[in-house]
Structure formats: structure tokens, C-alpha cells
Amino acid sequence: MEIQVCRAQAAYIIKLSGRWDTFSSAAFERTCAALIQEGMRLVVIDVADVDYVSSFGLRSLLNTGKILEPLQGRVHMSSLQPQVRKVFVGSGFSSLFPEYPDVDTALRAFKDKA
């Protein structure tokens, strides 16, 4: 899985590509931990190019959310593919991490909630 990070003002955009499985979830957690050390609080995870997410992927997302929660950070998901969305929503993770159709919408949601 490829991980690309870019900034949009106060928010970070982490774009994932490929399979979000056992092996890539560890890299995702390390990347997020380093970004949180840099000061990342608002993050949009763009999974438009992710075609599979495993329970390890969901767990790594959950761990990142647990780290950001006491820091008043928030995680927005964007551009979920149908097969990924089926697992994401069916596992109840959409109640923890709100999903949006695209990155811009997810970024605007930060401002709206602020």
C-alpha cells in the first residue's frame, strides 16, 4: 500500500492506495504516529484507491482515532469504494469515523463542525 501525505491548512490528507491489510496497517500506524508528533490533529483519510480493507486495517484506524481523541483530533474518511464501504459501514466504523464522498467535502466538514 502506498501512503501519501499532504497538508490543507490545518488538516492533513493521507491518501492510501492498494490493500489496507495486515502488512500495510503497521506502516499506516507509524505514519500517523509521526504526523501526530508533528502536530496533526485533523486528518482526512482518502481511500479512493483502496480496494480491500481487513480487520487489521480497521484496527489501525481505530488505534489512530484513540490517539487523536484525547487531543481533540478528528478523523474523516473520504471516497470509500463500494466493497470497502460495505465492510466499513457494516462493521459500524462509520459511527466512529464519519465518511464523505470526497476530500473537499471532508475538509469542509472540519470547518462546519468547528
Binding site: D51, L58, L62, S91, S94
Partner: protein, 647 residues
């Protein structure tokens, strides 16, 4: 390890010292030999030069003597010419006068007067400086009538050595008288001999070799040295006659001598000089001996210095070599006989630092070997524990259910490692109710096994107590929640209860993939309930849903990893492939799970690299037909609508 046990290849000092010492000895011996030969040649050249000077001196002396004899011969000849005309009394007076003329100032002088008689005989009269010595026949003087008559001009004879080993010069002059007709005729010969006994001493006085013996050798083999009964002298004489000039060594009177010789007097005579070797080469020999002793002393000093130097240089390397040899043999323990290297005693001491580094290397290797041994023991212990965990996990799998005509259950488990995070269970909640549990822990190895070993028995007991699937999951989540949340683990579980009497299947799901139901070529997946896995939120509720199966309908419970098994191109197996498989395979659960694993294996190109668990349940309905089936739409999901909305 004693020094004698050190292999030769480590004893470098000997291998280095021997060739260096041999080289030094060779160079010293070569220098001494060359120097000795050069000095000896110089001395011999000096001796030859001295001999040349002697020859020149002797030649001058010889000329002087000859002139003296020639001048002295003139009055003698005039007196002798009167002898034929003298009477006896006059002859005696003439003899006295002739002896008076003869002089011995340059050596003993002998005069032979050979007169031809009227009868043709030759009479010899011999005089010395004192008197007439004899009157006789010429046989003693080897003069014949013909030889006397043939001598018409004065003649110098070849130098000779007389019986007393004196060099003798002889000069003969014809005696001429006029006959009655006034014609001059040869009436005799006057021959004078000069025996130069002092000549050798005179020559010796010219030479720098005071102890040398000067000798003359005439062409007839007579010389002024003692008779030739001495073999070395005989050899020397033969060599002089053969080579005319040169040098030769000989032992004479048990002493070593060097003879230098060269021709003189037009080759008619050889002059030689016997020099004691100690006079000629004594200084050179002493100098050579002195240089040899000094060279040997220097050599010994150099050898000692070399030995000390090599000892100083190589002594720190000996323990290093021993340590390296022990490392090569795999002996990593500290040698009690070899003290540990202390601080360096001088600077720089690279060998000492190298030894310290090697000692640290040995200690590190020793520590690493101990660590590896400990790791091996730990690995063996973990392997035993893992084997126990695997056996324990296998023992927790549900036993085969007793065969009933209205139901069939078949399961398949593929474990990639020793233990897996997949879990499943099926058991009878009551004689006519079958509980089905399918779950997965988001972990690998031992953590996954520990989670599943906690969830499965807990759910088993909760369901056996009569709880519905949703309540059982809620209670299990409350028990599991704090620990799982702290350890950041989560478990997805699907729980369903099948009523074997009417085919009613009631289920609840904690974030797990719902099973697929199939009948003939109809394949559908039960709905996702949208509830979170266990271990995330403590107060999560799990609403139940239910369907009613048709007789002969099957449920296939699969783990989440089945749909993600990849082929060689990285493509996942996928939900559509599973639907197609179920549509094509309508056989009983036992054959169904085997065929499904075969297809997964074909898709992956070999055994899957991840855990795979799935099991199938087929409900055949009331085969006795004594209980009426309620008319229900099998695909109509009756939801309790108390939980989350379906995605």
C-alpha cells in the same frame, strides 16, 4: 598453552632471524674474501716490482763486473802471450807476476791459460791470486784444440753456478802470436772465472725483504740454493724453468714461503727470491684475523640485537596469535593461563591494542554464543508453548455433531501458522436448536489464540444458558471490552441459532462478515447489521435479525480472509467468485467445503498464506413431515429494527 605448543607458523621470529643471519654472514665472508684477495694481489704486485728493481740492479752490477774483468784481462793476455818464448826460470817469474795481477776484490778469481803445444796438445795452467794452482790436461776445463782455435774474439760464457753454489762469470780471450813469417795465429786461450760468493748478499741488501733468500738459477739447472734433494725445491726449479716468471708457494724447512722469480741476462739466468710467507703476508694475515674477529663480534652483536628486536616486536603478538588460534578452534571461553591484556606500556603499541580489540571480540563472541544458546532455549520453550497452544486450540474446535436426517454440518480450517485468529463453533442449544458461531480476532499468533480462547467458551456458555445471539454478544462484549480496549484488540463475531423444526435462523453480528445462503443456484448474503466488533465500545448493543430457511437450503459461514485470498497477479478471490462457486456447487456441506478449499487453492496457486476458516450448515427441513411448515418468504428479512441501519 606453552611456547612449545605454539605452531611453527606462529613462531615468526625464528623464520625471520635465520635468513637474516645467514645473509649477514654471507655478506661479511664475501667482503673479507674480496678484501683479502685484493690486498694479496697488491702485495704480490709490490713484490714483483721489487724483483724488477733487483733485476735492474743486478744488471748494472753485472755490467760493472764484466767491464772490470775485461779491463783486467788485457795485461793478463799480454803476459800470457809471452809464455811460449820463456824458459823455465822466466816461466816461474811470469807465473808469479800473473798471480799478482789476479785480484779477488770482486770475488774469487780463477784464470785458466790454455796453450797449444807443438804436438797439438792443449796445456792448461790454472792460477789464482796467490799462485799457480795446477798444470794439466784440458779435460778438466773441457777445452779442446778445435775449440781453442775456433775462439777468435773475446767471449762471455753463460753464467754458471759452481760447486760451491756461487754464481760464476766466465770470460775467455784468444791469445794471438805472430809466427816466424809474421802471421798472427791463435796459440791459446785465456779464460778467467769470477765466483761471486758475495753477490747474493749484495742483492739481498737491495731488497726490503731482509729474511728473503735470493737465488740464481742457470739454464743448466744449477742454482745457488741447496741441492735439489728437497722435493718442494725441485718442484720450484721445474716450475721456474717452465714458466720463467711468476710466483709459487712452497713449504721449505717446515715453513711456508712464497717464491717470486723472473728471467735476467737475456734469459740465460733466472733470479728468484724466497720470502717467508709471514714476512710477505704477515701484516695482511693479522689484519684479516683482526677484521674477522671484529666482523664476528659485530655479527654476534647484530644477531643479539635482532633477537632482542624480534622478541620485543613479536612478544605482544604471541598471545594475540594464541588468542586467534583459540578463536579459530571455536574456544571462546577465557583462557585461565593467559592473563588479560593490561594497559599499554608504551606508545604506540598497535599490537597491544590489536590484542585488546581481539579480546573484546572474543568476549563479544562468547556473549553472543551465550545469547544464542539462551535464544535457542527460549525458542524451544516457545515452540513447546506454541505446540501446546495449537493443541489447545484444536481441542476447542467443536466435535462432530451426531448425524441427524434434517441437518448436516461440515467445517474446514486452514492454519497458516501454529495458531490462528479465526474461530468457529456449532453446538446444540437444545435438542432442536443449533447454535452457529463464526468469528475473527484482529491479531495473529498467540494474542489471537488467547482472544479466541476467551471468546469462544464465553459465548458457548452464554448461549447454552439460553440467551439470544444479541444478548450473548452484549454480555461477551462487556466482559471482553476493557481488556481488549486496553490492548487495542477487537474481535468480530457472527452468532446465529437455527431452529431445526421450522428453519428459523436468528442472528446477530459484531462486525463480522454475514454468511451466504444458497439453494440451488440462488445465492445471497445475509445483511450486514452495522454493529461494531467486540472490544471497542462497552455498551454496544447487537440487534437480532431472522430469516426462515427453506428445506435443503445451506448457510456458508466464512472468515474475512477468504474473500481476500490473492492470486499470482494480486487479485483477491472476491465475493462474486464465491457467489458463482455456490451457484455451481449444490452438493452437501462436506463436499461443498472441500470443493471450496480446492478452488481457493487453485486461485492462490498453492496453499493460502493466511488462515482460512469456513463451515457450512444444510437444513433439510422436517423430513418426517409430521410438522407443518409455516408459509414464509425465505428472503424476507424480519429485522428487529432496534439496531443500526444496514449499510
Amino acid at each position: 598453552m606453552s611456547p612449545s605448543e605454539v605452531p611453527w607458523r606462529y613462531r615468526l621470529e625464528t623464520r625471520q632471524s635465520i635468513p637474516i643471519m645467514v645473509g649477514l654472514v654471507g655478506v661479511l665472508a664475501l667482503l673479507l674474501t674480496l678484501g683479502y684477495l685484493h690486498a694479496r694481489e697488491q702485495i704480490l704486485a709490490s713484490a714483483r716490482a721489487q724483483m724488477a728493481q733487483l733485476v735492474g740492479s743486478i744488471a748494472r752490477q753485472d755490467d760493472y763486473n764484466r767491464n772490470w774483468l775485461e779491463r783486467g784481462m788485457q795485461p793478463l793476455v799480454r803476459l800470457v802471450a809471452t809464455f811460449p818464448h820463456l824458459n823455465t826460470q822466466e816461466q816461474k817469474a811470469a807465473d808469479a807476476n800473473l798471480s799478482a795481477i789476479i785480484s779477488d776484490t770482486r770475488g774469487r778469481q780463477i784464470v785458466d791459460v790454455l796453450l797449444l803445444g807443438e804436438n797439438g796438445k792443449v796445456t792448461v795452467r790454472r792460477y789464482d791470486s796467490k799462485k799457480l794452482l795446477s798444470v794439466g790436461s784440458p779435460s778438466t776445463t773441457k777445452w779442446t784444440r778445435q775449440r781453442v782455435l775456433a775462439l777468435t774474439t773475446p767471449e762471455w760464457h753463460a753464467p754458471e753456478v759452481d760447486a760451491r753454489r756461487n754464481l760464476m762469470l766466465r770470460y775467455s780471450v784468444p791469445i794471438v802470436d805472430k809466427d816466424s813469417s809474421g802471421k798472427a795465429q791463435n796459440i791459446g786461450v785465456c779464460s778467467v772465472s769470477l765466483a761471486i760468493s758475495w753477490f747474493a748478499d749484495r742483492v739481498r741488501s737491495f731488497s726490503p725483504f731482509k729474511n728473503g733468500s735470493v737465488f740464481f738459477l742457470s739454464q743448466d739447472g744449477k742454482w745457488t740454493l741447496p741441492p735439489q734433494d728437497d722435493i718442494p725445491l725441485a718442484r720450484l726449479k721445474a716450475r721456474i724453468l717452465a714458466h720463467a716468471s711468476g710466483e709459487s708457494r712452497l713449504i721449505w724447512n717446515d715453513k711456508p714461503y712464497m717464491a717470486v722469480y723472473m728471467p735476467m741476462a737475456g734469459g740465460k739466468l733466472h733470479l728468484g727470491l724466497l720470502i717467508p710467507r709471514k714476512d710477505l703476508f704477515g701484516d695482511l694475515d693479522r689484519l684479516t684475523h683482526l677484521l674477522g674477529i671484529i666482523g664476528l663480534a659485530v655479527l654476534l652483536l647484530a644477531a643479539y640485537s635482532l633477537h632482542r628486536t624480534t622478541e620485543t616486536v613479536l612478544s605482544p603478538l604471541k598471545p594475540l596469535g594464541q588468542l586467534a588460534a583459540r578463536l579459530a578452534r571455536g574456544e571462546l571461553e577465557a583462557d585461565p593461563q593467559t592473563p588479560a591484556p593490561g594497559p599499554a606500556t608504551r606508545f604506540p603499541d598497535e599490537a597491544h591494542r590489536l590484542r585488546q580489540a581481539t579480546e573484546k571480540l572474543r568476549q563479544a563472541l562468547h556473549q553472543r554464543m551465550q545469547d544464542l544458546t539462551l535464544i535457542g532455549q527460549t525458542r524451544e520453550r516457545l515452540f513447546g508453548e506454541m505446540t501446546f497452544a495449537r493443541n489447545m486450540q484444536e481441542s476447542m474446535r467443536p466435535p462432530k455433531l451426531p448425524h441427524t436426517p434434517d441437518m448436516e454440518v461440515a467445517a474446514f480450517v486452514h492454519t497458516a501458522g501454529d495458531v490462528c485468529g479465526d474461530m468457529y463453533d456449532y453446538f446444540s442449544q437444545s435438542p432442536r436448536r443449533l447454535c452457529c458461531v463464526m468469528g475473527n480476532a484482529a491479531a495473529h499468533g498467540v494474542p489471537a489464540a488467547l482472544l479466541t480462547s476467551r471468546v469462544i467458551p464465553l459465548l458457548h456458555e452464554l448461549l447454552l444458558s439460553g440467551l439470544a445471539p444479541g444478548k450473548a454478544l452484549e454480555n461477551c462484549n462487556r466482559v471482553l471490552g476493557p481488556a481488549a480496549s486496553r490492548e487495542q484488540h477487537m474481535v468480530s463475531v457472527f452468532v446465529g441459532i437455527l431452529d431445526l423444526d421450522d428453519g428459523l435462523f436468528r442472528w446477530a453480528s459484531a462486525g463480522h462478515t454475514p454468511p451466504f445462503r444458497s439453494l440451488g443456484q440462488e445465492v445471497n448474503q445475509l445483511d450486514w447489521t452495522g454493529n461494531m466488533p467486540l472490544g471497542i465500545r462497552d455498551k454496544e448493543t447487537y440487534p437480532e435479525r431472522e430469516i426462515r430457511l427453506r428445506p435443503g437450503e445451506s448457510l456458508l459461514f466464512v472468515g474475512p480472509r477468504l474473500l481476500s485470498v490473492q492470486d499470482a497477479q494480486g487479485r483477491g478471490y472476491g465475493e462474486e467468485a464465491l457467489r458463482c462457486f455456490l451457484a455451481r456447487n449444490t452438493e452437501a456441506p462436506t463436499g461443498l467445503v472441500r470443493a471450496l478449499y480446492a478452488q481457493i487453492r487453485d486461485h492462490a496457486g498453492g496453499p493460502p498464506q493466511d488462515d482460512l476458516t469456513f463451515f457450512a450448515v444444510c437444513w433439510r427441513g422436517d423430513v418426517a413431515g409430521d410438522k407443518p411448515q409455516p408459509p414464509v418468504d425465505p428472503w424476507n428479512v424480519s429485522s428487529e429494527a432496534a439496531g443500526r441501519q444496514e449499510p
